[in-house]
């Protein structure tokens, strides 16, 4: 076995510290996570709760509780169970998970990205009125269930303001009294819709990745016809703009509706290139005048000097990096 120096890693600092009851205006609610055979450790998860206070409040804002650091496997059902059975029993109306915080990893999480691209794209048409926004031609889903990356947030809407406040109070009390609050996995929370994790999840994903060709065909067809319709509408609009002078009597200059075929474009480019070459041939060569030669030589000499200085610098660098030259 080859001994290997340990990689860079920051050692965890051991500090004697206690978990506070609240942080900023959040209640810190410890949830006891279920143990698994592969990791039989009693671990806690910390959920942060407060009344929702967005920058632009809506009518339902007072009825909402804002949760930070939602467990990765949370579903609407599990949160419902949590609040209704363990925290005051307020009734939930809706749970809205918000996109996970984009990390600097560069790999966007496919699980949380909301699918559903708006099919309307391109120019906003003047006078054409707001086109109706429809989502069509979506490709089939390939994951059976979404998961939440670390630090995700969710907004829980209760039926009324009292329930929301009750839930928070109950949470505070539970923390103070030190009552153990269990985190129920979807399975234990009785969520029938939640799909299992582990290899079953990946097998399901593998199956979902290969959708039925007919479904796929239909989705693609819908998309393409929508796209074509949009394209047509845009072209029509452009044609109209070309034809109709505006209030000052000017005609807007827009891109032509018809595009040249690709082959033609390529041919034109080649023709231009030929012309250019022809012109160049006619021009006086670079070594025609004496001054040209002289300039060239001087440039080469300067290049030599530069190269020499460059080398000196590189060697300096090398020396700085490796230290004294040493024969192995």
């Amino acid at each position: 076995m080859v001994p290997v120096p340990p990689p860079d890693n920051v050692m965890p600092t051991k500090l004697k510290a206690t978990v506070p009851i609240s942080v900023n205006d959040f209640v810190v609610l410890p949830l006891t996570l279920p143990t698994t055979p592969s990791y039989p450790v009693d671990a806690k998860h910390y959920l942060y709760l407060r009344l929702n206070a967005p920058k632009l409040p809506t009518d339902s804002t007072p009825r909402e509780v804002f949760c930070v650091n939602v467990p990765f496997d949370a579903t609407a059902a599990t949160l419902k169970v949590l609040f209704s059975q363990q925290l005051g029993g307020g009734r939930l109306e809706e749970v809205r998970f918000e996109g996970g915080i984009r990390t600097s990893k560069g790999i966007a999480a496919p699980l949380t990205q909301s699918r559903g691209k708006k099919r309307k794209r391109g120019l906003e048409f003047e006078g054409g009125g707001e086109a109706e926004v429809v989502e069509v031609g979506q490709l089939p889903q390939v994951w059976d269930r979404e998961l939440h990356p670390g630090g995700s947030t969710a907004v829980v809407r209760f039926v009324d303001k009292e329930s929301a406040e009750l839930a928070l109070r109950a949470a505070k009390q539970a923390v103070k009294s030190g009552r153990t609050i269990m985190w129920d996995t979807p399975a234990s929370a009785g969520d029938e819709d939640a799909r299992p994790l582990g290899s079953a999840r990946y097998l399901a994903h593998h199956t979902l990745r290969y959708p039925d060709p007919a479904t796929l065909q239909e989705s693609v067809d819908t998309f393409i016809s929508a796209f074509n319709a949009q394209d047509d509408a845009r072209n029509k609009e452009l044609a109209r703009l070309r034809a109709v002078p505006d209030e000052d009597g000017f005609v807007t200059v827009t891109r032509g509706a018809k595009q040249k075929p690709a082959e033609l474009v390529a041919e034109e480019a080649a023709e231009r290139e030929r012309q250019k070459k022809k012109r160049e041939r006619k021009q006086v060569g670079e070594d025609f005048y004496r001054f040209q030669n002289r300039e060239k030589r001087k440039e080469e000499q300067r290049g030599l000097v530069r190269g020499f200085e460059e080398d000196g610098r590189r060697l300096e660098e090398l020396r700085a990096r490796r230290g004294r030259m040493r024969v192995e």
């Binding site: 076995m1 890693n9 500090l15 699980l111 691209k117 998961l147 990946y202 020499f308």
Partner: protein
């Protein structure tokens, strides 16, 4: 006034030298001229400046006054270069200049004016200078490091030399005694046993042995010549003691008599030192350079506690060899020619074979002082001589050559003598081959060129008039006619072959414009047998030698070399033998045994022939040859009739018989048959590395898939109803370029192999939508059509459309998996070149949001990577794999190494391939690897030394030098720009460019991170240290294991194998997925992908793919304790310590691990946390 003139002269002189340098670079650069041309080459070079001069003069006359400005310009740029030139010329230089004859000065000035006029030549020339500048600067620095300096060690040696001289001069003469008497007397009085060479002197010898005052004492060798390297660990000084001529008779050169007398003289000297300096020096006998005829005294300082003479400090590391020698006039030179016999056998006087080794060995004793004079004279005349000797010494040392017989017999002395001789003659009409005006580097290169180009074992290099032929056994001959001596008499045939190979390699390296060959010429050590030879063998010889065996090891080794060479034929390109010689022995002891105990053999194989199973011998009709064949091979030879009707003697080897390669079987057979060496004594080091790969390193494993690929291409091209015609179908996968760790079709149980990726491009059409997202959907429509048509056309094909990149709709959305009944599977994606234009347009569009542009940039990079670079690299690598037989195995083993060390999810396989190929296309200082072992170890060797912070990886994949110097410089510039842009290496850590991919960031943008690259280097370094430590005892598998304790936690995955054993009910689901649909399913990869997307911001994951079913993790340093914030991208524990005011957040490790355990579910067998 005179001073000024001097200075002027000097300033002008140097650049003209430099010009001459370049002229010769150009002519040397031409490389392998024919041997015949070589002779005239040097002469031409010297003639060149004069020719130039003449023509330039003419030019000048014709030219007009306008040139004046140019002269000035030239001079200024020249003086710019002078700064360096003048710097490194030491004082000797100006002294030398001062004594240059008037004529010389005139000539030089003449040349200088014309040189100043000389126009700067073509860009090729500039390029050459540019390279050699860097090279020259490095050579200068190296020389400054290794030039000898006078220090304490040298002073101690000088004192010791003086002390020894005084002792020798004051010795009492010993009257003539008979042999046995002399031996007995010395043993009893001084306890010194006379180190007679074997065979020892006959009992009834009529001659007498005696001692007399030395005729002269002198220091010879590299020390007085100042050609010894300062960095040598032991300073070795040779001291010659000339024996008075009166001790010898005319016929003493015969039958070892000279050597007996010499041995006695030496023993007397030993006795004298013993009595005078017992407390200061340790004295031992040793064979001089492994020549058992010539023992010498080795004197080293004793440990300090018993130092009587306070002035000599014995702690310094030095060694003095005391060598008796004899005057030049004692024996006639003509009797000692290599063609003469000097060992007469009383019985059969008719058959007198020449004894060149014996003769030259004696002759070299007579010439010790002479060569000192000769070399000293040359060193005085040619300034660069000493430096070129130092360069040569470094070069030889790195390649394991030395003056000792065990090291090949070509060492510093031979190098110096060779240059000295070539400076004196050897050219046509007896003119010198080299000129005194050469720079040290030119001398070095010219000497290598001389070694590389001409085969001195076939045609001797004759320095002075004379006509002599080489011995004919493959050993070289450089005949110094003036001194009647073969300078290279000691060089063994195999060492000479090796030396020539090395010289050729170095000449090629130095001629390579693209890479700086300095490190591989002087710095890299290439002695290690494991990286140097494809196969190395240790032979321990039995202790007792049978009486009929020849005593001289050189003869014995030569026989072994001949047998192996004949037996292996074209299977090997080099056979090296290295005996381990007996160490020095105590004065009172008799020499144990002159024969070596252990011989190490090294083979460089020819990868095309080494695995051949049938050897054809002579035809049965050729009786004599057939008989010889039979005697040589013994019972292995069989008479066989072949398909073409010929009946020949032949040898049949079975591959892989009890794990032995064919080469091993042959070597064992030959050693047993001809040297009675049994199996136990012969050990092959490091069993074949190729066996670490599943199903071996043969590319034949890939053939079924490649054939299926061809079939697939035909099937697809044969579809007539496709709306567009097909332009290209290109492979884009490791499996289709002989480069996947496992050959296709071999996968772990429970998992099907991954489909091989393929791209398809259709002819251009205006019907494609002009929108990136819509293009992706149109591609799916195409694939749907394609799959329908394919399945209609061929019932044996299953084609399914799969989806990918769901989160980013400007990326490719669908692929087509095509599965044949045979199991061959392909994943096809459509390449549409319009995408690139559209994405580039998006990048330029200033109205778009930065996030959109960022996405477009990533999509563009991915587009280029998947559709342009990968197919191109696939083609290039499959071409190279057919060209270099060992490449495929090397790449696969190297990938396995990365995989085994859990690096493969960070470092793209393409980068690993490039590093492996680098070892083949830029193999210096070695040749192209001819086995998986050497390929792999050298790649590892380079990886350990790769300073990726400051060096880009540039590889030419074209195979015919398509990558030009300018391209290389462009890549370097791009690399430097990246380093300036991103000095902390957050984005680009490794830079890997090829002629197909000048960007250099295709495979390395964003990954690996610096930590991972650092770990890669650390792992490679420790692997190299391990190899160096273990040498031939290396267990290849040990390089593929590393400890898991460096990681914070390790997830042991439940491999499919175990799961499929527990059939129970879990497999209901598995059963639902039938065989074909599970192609491409890899739970571990999917799990890793999800882990990275969920926890990538807090944890760095390491996974080795199929090679090791674990995922390891390191907590990112970014997760250390910090102020609590709402939007930390990982699960936290808030904490409040009494002292601090604010509430801190730290990463919730247990919580996250518990989450991971739930996410992985049955995939995880256990989670091990390493406590820190």
């Amino acid at each position: 006034m005179a001073d000024r003139a001097m200075k002027r002269r000097k300033v002008e002189h140097t650049p003209s030298d430099d010009e001459a340098d370049d002229a010769s670079f150009a002519s040397f650069g031409d490389g392998e001229d024919e041997t015949a041309q070589e002779d005239s080459m040097a002469a031409e070079q010297r003639a060149l400046p004069e020719d130039d001069e003449r023509s330039l003069h003419q030019e000048r006359i014709e030219d007009d006054l306008d040139s004046e400005t140019e002269v000035i310009a030239d001079e200024t740029s020249d003086s710019g270069e002078d700064v360096d030139m003048v710097d490194d010329e030491d004082d000797e230089h100006s002294a030398h200049n001062a004594v240059v004859s008037k004529q010389d000065i005139k000539a030089k000035q003449n040349r200088n004016t014309s040189m100043a006029k000389k126009q700067v030549p073509s860009s090729a020339f500039t390029a050459g200078t540019f390279k050699s500048n860097m090279f020259k600067l490095q050579v200068d620095e190296l020389l400054a490091q290794i030039r000898p300096r006078r220090g304490k060690r040298e002073e101690a040696v000088d004192q010791a030399l003086h002390a020894l001289k005084t002792t020798f001069d004051s010795m009492e003469p010993v009257a003539p005694l008979s042999v046995s008497e002399a031996r007995r007397k010395l043993l009893t009085t001084s306890k010194v046993s006379v180190p007679f060479p074997s065979p020892g002197p006959p009992k009834d010898a009529k001659y007498t042995l005696q001692h007399a005052k030395p005729a002269g004492i002198n220091v010879v060798g590299s020390y007085p010549l100042k050609t010894n390297s300062r960095t040598d660990t032991v300073l070795k000084v040779d001291m010659m003691v000339a024996m008075p001529s009166a001790l010898f008779q005319e016929k003493d050169y015969l039958n070892y008599r000279y050597f007996y007398k010499r041995a006695y003289y030496l023993a007397c000297l030993a006795a004298a030192i013993q009595s005078a300096h017992r407390d200061t020096y340790e004295v031992q006998f040793s064979d001089f350079r492994g020549d058992q005829l010539k023992p010498v005294l080795v004197i080293v300082p004793k440990a300090p506690q018993s130092s009587v003479n306070d002035e000599i400090k014995p702690a310094a590391k030095w060694r003095i060899n005391v060598m008796p020698c004899v005057n030049l006039d004692v024996f006639s030179a003509s009797k000692l020619l290599p063609t003469k016999n000097c060992i007469r056998n009383t019985e059969q006087s008719s058959d007198l074979k020449p004894t060149p080794l014996y003769n030259s060995s004696l002759r070299s004793d007579m010439l010790l002082a002479t060569y000192l004079e000769v070399i000293h004279g040359v060193a005085g005349r040619c300034e660069a001589f000493r430096d070129s000797c130092l360069l040569g010494a470094t070069w030889l040392q790195q390649r394991g050559f030395g003056s000792g017989i065990a090291d090949g017999g070509f060492g510093n002395f031979e190098w110096a003598a060779l240059i000295a001789s070539m400076l004196q003659g050897g050219g046509p009409n007896g003119k010198p081959l080299l000129s005194d005006g050469y720079s040290s580097y030119q001398l070095f290169k010219a000497t290598l060129q001389a070694l590389a180009v001409r085969d001195l074992s076939k045609q001797a290099l004759v320095i002075a008039p004379g006509n002599i032929k080489p011995v004919g056994d493959g050993s070289p001959m450089v005949w110094d006619g003036a001194r009647h001596h073969n300078i290279l008499y000691k060089v063994t045939p195999w060492a000479y072959a090796q030396l020539r190979q090395e010289a050729k390699l170095t000449i090629t390296t130095l001629g390579d414009q693209l890479y700086d060959g300095f490190d591989s010429t002087f710095i890299t050590k290439k002695k290690d047998a494991m990286t140097r030879f494809d196969v190395s063998v240790n032979i321990s010889l039995p202790k007792r030698s049978s009486p009929d065996q020849p005593e001289d090891i050189r003869v014995q080794l030569a026989r072994m070399h001949d047998v192996l060479k004949r037996g292996l034929g074209d299977r090997t390109t080099l056979i090296a033998l290295k005996p381990t010689l007996p160490p020095p022995w105590q004065l009172g002891m008799t020499k144990s045994e002159s024969r070596p105990r252990v011989i190490t053999l090294g083979f460089v194989v020819d990868p095309d022939n080494v695995h051949r199973t049938v050897d054809h011998g002579p035809s049965a009709e050729a009786k004599a040859e057939a008989a010889a064949f039979r005697t040589f091979w013994g019972d292995k030879a069989e008479l066989r009739r072949f398909k073409d009707g010929s009946i020949t003697e032949s040898l049949i080897w079975a591959a892989g018989e009890d794990g032995q390669t064919i080469l091993e079987q042959i070597v064992r057979h030959l050693l047993a048959k001809h040297f009675s060496l049994v199996t136990e004594g012969v050990s092959f080091s490091a069993k074949d590395f190729a066996s670490l790969l599943r199903h071996g390193a043969r590319t034949a494993n890939f053939q079924p898939l490649l054939e299926a690929y061809k079939q697939m291409e035909m099937d697809v091209r044969g579809l007539e109803a496709l709306p567009l015609s097909i332009r290209h179908i290109m492979p884009a996968d490791g499996q289709l370029r002989y480069a996947s760790i496992r050959p296709p079709g071999v996968a772990a149980a429970g998992e099907k192999g991954l489909p091989a990726q393929v791209t398809i491009q259709f002819e251009g059409s205006t019907r494609w939508p002009d929108d990136v997202v819509a293009i992706q959907r149109t591609k799916i429509a195409f694939l749907l059509k394609l799959s329908e048509l394919l399945q209609e056309a061929n019932g044996g094909i299953t084609a399914r459309i799969g989806l990918e990149n769901q989160h980013e709709d400007i990326l490719n959305q669908g692929f087509l998996d095509i599965v044949y009944e045979s199991g061959a599977a392909f994943r096809m994606r459509i390449y549409h070149d319009r995408e690139q234009t559209l994405l580039e347009r998006q990048l330029k569009d200033n109205n778009l949001a930065p996030s959109v542009k960022e996405a477009a940039a990533q999509a563009l990079a991915k587009h280029k990577r998947d559709y342009i670079r990968r197919p191109a690299q696939t083609q290039a690598i499959s071409r190279m794999c057919t060209r270099y037989p060992a490449l495929s195995g090397t790449i696969r083993l190297f990938k396995k190494w990365f995989s085994s060390h859990l690096l493969s999810n960070h470092i793209a396989e393409e980068v690993i391939e490039l590093i492996a190929i680098r070892t083949f296309v830029q193999p210096w200082p070695w040749g192209v690897p001819s086995s998986v072992q050497t390929g792999f170890l050298r790649a590892l060797h380079w990886l350990a030394r790769w300073d990726w912070r400051a060096e880009p990886l540039i590889v030419d994949l074209s195979g015919n030098d398509e990558l030009k110097l300018a391209d290389g410089q462009g890549m370097r510039t791009r690399f430097e720009a990246w380093r300036k842009l991103d000095p902390s290496l957050n984005r680009i850590v490794l830079f890997a460019a090829t002629n197909l991919d000048p960007d250099g960031t295709t495979w390395t943008d964003g990954h690996p991170q610096r930590v991972v690259a650092g770990r890669m280097t650390a792992l490679a370094r420790s692997a190299c240290a391990h190899i160096e430590e273990q040498q031939s005892a290396l267990q290849p598998a040990s390089l593929f294991a590393s400890s898991l304790s460096d990681y914070d936690f390790v997830l042991q995955l439940d491999t499919g194998r175990k799961r499929s054993k527990a059939v129970a009910y879990k497999n209901l689901e598995l059963a639902a997925v039938d065989d074909d649909t599970s192609i491409g399913y890899n739970a571990a990869e999917l799990f890793l992908y999800e882990l990275e997307s969920l926890y990538g911001s807090a944890i760095l994951f390491f996974h080795g793919g199929q090679e090791r079913s674990i995922i390891a993790g390191l907590w990112s340093p970014g997760t250390s304790q910090r102020n609590w914030k709402m939007n930390l991208p990982y699960s936290t524990i808030p904490s409040k310590s009494s002292k601090e005011v604010g509430i801190m957040a730290k990463v919730n490790r247990e919580g996250i691990l518990s989450d991971i355990a739930r996410l992985g579910g049955d995939l995880i067998e256990s989670i091990e946390v390493n406590a820190r």
